[in-house]
């Protein structure tokens, strides 16, 4: 089956074969997985898609599946754009991803335990000490503290991309408060409403079992001596941009959604204020950052935290999901050591690729980097938010010389990686009223409990709606797709 130029819904589909297209191969043949859906979509006119797209947008808006954007005085409600063309992952492909993300989550958990206890990995010289000691996310309060069930990163969001070589690479591990899971479920519902017919032709794993598994995981890390734990979700409040997700999770988990002001600590136990008086709380799924959790222990000016919470946690009277202090393990510098970390704790080969990294602190690596700056992305290890990054193929000759100079001044401070390309996927574009190629990534959601691990079969495919843009974040005009994992 070929990409048919006469097919009106793909009329302005410019198949750039330099990019990895998830739907069409380099000869413009439709990949096997997508044959049926292309056939079904071809039955629709572009007018159908225009109206379906409008309806989907209205439906998200009316349901209040929105986030707040603040601009000049006025707060505006925006929907997270949803795309009508689903991402399809084959069973085999997914198996590798699933095994891979569980492996990473487990390794990160062991790594965190080690960092806050014996620090063997540092003593053995695998990870340099200054990487940890210089990290603002390493919480000294967590040293020698045993989190209930021995779990730190109960919830991990792993960001994956498919490079132009057709292989998956992990771009980032998110183990603080990864968000987006509610959109996985909303996207599925929206696509079902809009194009239910296509679901008859594919056997797809459901995504509705996330909440029950999360509750299992939360209950599995209950404090000692508690029979049936009282679990809650804590949110910064209705003005938080992810409030929809917080309320969605609480609702589907069937537990209370609390704010800091609803809780208090007495004699190192946590209680919530109910209409019939105080009620003890045992497990807290927190959607507020570490430093805001407890004004007595972290930021004094936190108005959304609970004074005394950390003391209760230390005494083992309450569980916090994810544990405080996980941020030390998911930053860019640690990322580059992930293959070594997996090997060290699990004695396994990494299942998922890391983007290869050159450490300028190593002599051979430095030599390679200096000779190939035009093909590399150079990043400082200790900066966040994209500062100080240079992308080789966008630099002039003078700029390259300048980057070289900067690296040589302090080689330890820099790492370099090949320039990665995100795969592209057919995406409905409002302006041109047609499907076009857009870059996508994939965020998976992994749950880790005292005795089990679970990966949501699906995930959030984020798509950069601006042409040529590689940044898929919603704040940068990104949208998302329903993501199907096929049964065998």
């Amino acid at each position: 089956m070929k990409l048919n130029d006469s097919n009106p819904i793909f009329s302005s589909y410019q198949n750039n074969t330099a990019l990895y297209d998830e739907i069409f191969d380099e000869n413009k043949n439709v990949r096997r997985t997508y044959e049926k859906i292309i056939e079904l979509y071809s039955d629709h006119s572009i007018k159908d898609f225009v109206s379906l797209n409008e309806k989907a947008k209205a439906s998200f808006f009316n349901q209040g599946i929105t986030f707040q954007v603040y601009s000049d005085e006025k707060a505006q409600e925006k929907i997270f754009p949803f795309d009508l063309f689903p991402r399809i992952l084959e069973a085999k492909e997914w198996n590798t991803i699933e095994k891979g993300v569980i492996q990473r989550s487990k390794a990160l958990n062991e790594f965190l335990w080690d960092l806050y206890h014996e620090k063997n990995i540092i003593k053995d010289g695998i990870v340099p000490l200054d990487l940890i000691s210089s990290s603002a996310n390493y919480l000294r309060q967590m040293i020698d503290l045993d989190p209930p069930g021995g779990v730190y990163n109960h919830i991990s969001g792993t960001d994956l991309i498919k490079h132009s070589d057709g292989k998956y690479y992990v771009l980032e591990d998110n183990i603080r408060c990864p968000s987006g899971v509610s959109y996985v479920i909303c996207n599925r519902n929206a696509l079902k409403r809009a194009l239910f017919g296509v679901f008859n032709h594919y056997k797809i794993h459901a995504v509705t079992n996330y909440a029950e598994n999360l509750l299992d995981i939360m209950e599995s890390v209950k404090p000692k001596g508690v029979d049936v734990p009282n679990c809650v979700v804590i949110t910064p409040g209705i003005y938080n941009s992810a409030y929809y997700e917080h309320s969605y999770l609480a609702k589907t988990l069937g537990i209370e959604l609390v704010e800091g002001r609803d809780l208090f600590v007495e004699k190192d136990f946590v209680y919530m204020k109910t209409i019939s008086g105080p009620e003890k709380v045992d497990v807290i799924y927190r959607r507020i950052d570490d430093t805001f959790l407890d004004p007595l222990e972290f930021r004094e000016d936190s108005a959304i935290g609970i004074p005394g919470l950390f003391a209760a946690y230390k005494r083992g009277n309450v569980s916090i999901v994810n544990a405080p202090g996980t941020g030390v393990a998911d930053d860019k510098a640690i990322y580059t050591y992930m293959p070594e970390i997996i090997k060290y704790y699990l004695n396994e080969k990494p299942i998922l690729n890391n983007v290869p990294t050159f450490h300028c602190s190593r002599k051979d690596d430095l030599k390679y980097v200096l000779e190939n700056i035009d093909k590399l992305v150079v990043k400082p290890v200790d900066e966040a938010g994209g500062y100080g990054i240079s992308i080789g193929n966008r630099l002039t000759k003078d700029e390259i010389e300048n980057v070289k100079k900067v690296i040589l001044e302090n080689p330890r401070k820099y790492i370099a990686q090949p320039i990665m390309s995100l795969s592209v996927h057919a995406t409905y574009i409002d302006e041109s009223q047609s499907f076009e190629q857009r870059h996508v990534d994939l965020r998976t959601f992994t749950l880790l409990g005292a005795e089990k691990a679970f990966v949501l079969k699906g995930g959030l495919t984020r798509v950069a709606l601006k042409k040529g843009n590689l940044i898929v974040n919603s704040s940068q005009g990104g949208g998302s797709k329903d993501t199907w994992v096929l049964k065998k």
């Binding site: 209040g64 409030y243 309320s247 609702k251 959604l257 609803d262 105080p278």
Partner: protein, 314 residues
Amino acid sequence: MLARVANNLFWMGRYIERAEHTARFMNVNYFSSLDAPNQLSQSRQFVLHSIMSMVGDDVKDKTKIKEEDVFYNVGLNPEKHYSINQCVKFARENANSSRDMISTEFYESINKFYHYVMNYPKEIFVRSGLHDFTTNVTEHTAILRGKIRGTLLHDEVYALIMLGINIERATQIIRIVKTKFEDAQKATGGYTNPIENSYEWTTLLKCCESYDMNRRFYKKPPTQLTVLEFLVLNPNCPRSVINSLNQIFYHITILDNLELRDKTSAAFLIGKMRSQYQFKTVEEIQKSVDKFIEKTLDTLVEISEKLEREYFYH
């Protein structure tokens, strides 16, 4: 249930109900004045003053007010706490804060309602949109009540919303009675008998969506006596004060029926007020309507304050 969320649910109920009464009051007063039988009832200024008085923003009797200002302030002005715009905004904000407790279906309806009100163009509203906007507001609130009854678990969540709705309803009904009673005193002489047969009584019943049922029940044109009896003491009239009190009493016992033993509790006060109303006669009220209205409003405020102290602030 969290005390804060209980507070949110209670006030959500109140604001939904308040929006509806305000919308209906504007609509009925304005449109019934267009062909009213006497000069004063027909006067635009008279009607506009009446509307401002109902929302509690009284204007001095002789002051001339602009129709567009009144419409805008009571309907859409985000700066006026009593405007329908603000009621709906607060209702939805309270729904947001308790979103995990309510159904998706109900939330979707309140969210749509919110966007409808927020996006209603001011220019159209003040010139020609009064009927369209206010009837849509009452439609939306009816849908909300249906979703509350039909999609929520009838437990504490439901009881709290119903408490809010019914306390607000009793308050608004008695406020509407008060406003129209004052109007009737000014606008006597529409028919042969002065105050007893004032045209304002018909308007009053229509403001409370009770005109048709009143006619069915008494089979005569409304008089001060039958209107008061119907809107205050008839337990079968869904808008009557006694009906609201019965509802309030029923729902507070769902929340906690042990509180009834404590004579300082909200539940006890509600029970007491309800019993007094149950055996009151309209003749007793008629002796001093002003005082009766004041007393009713005061007790409702006291109940609301007691509820807040007992359930919402721990």
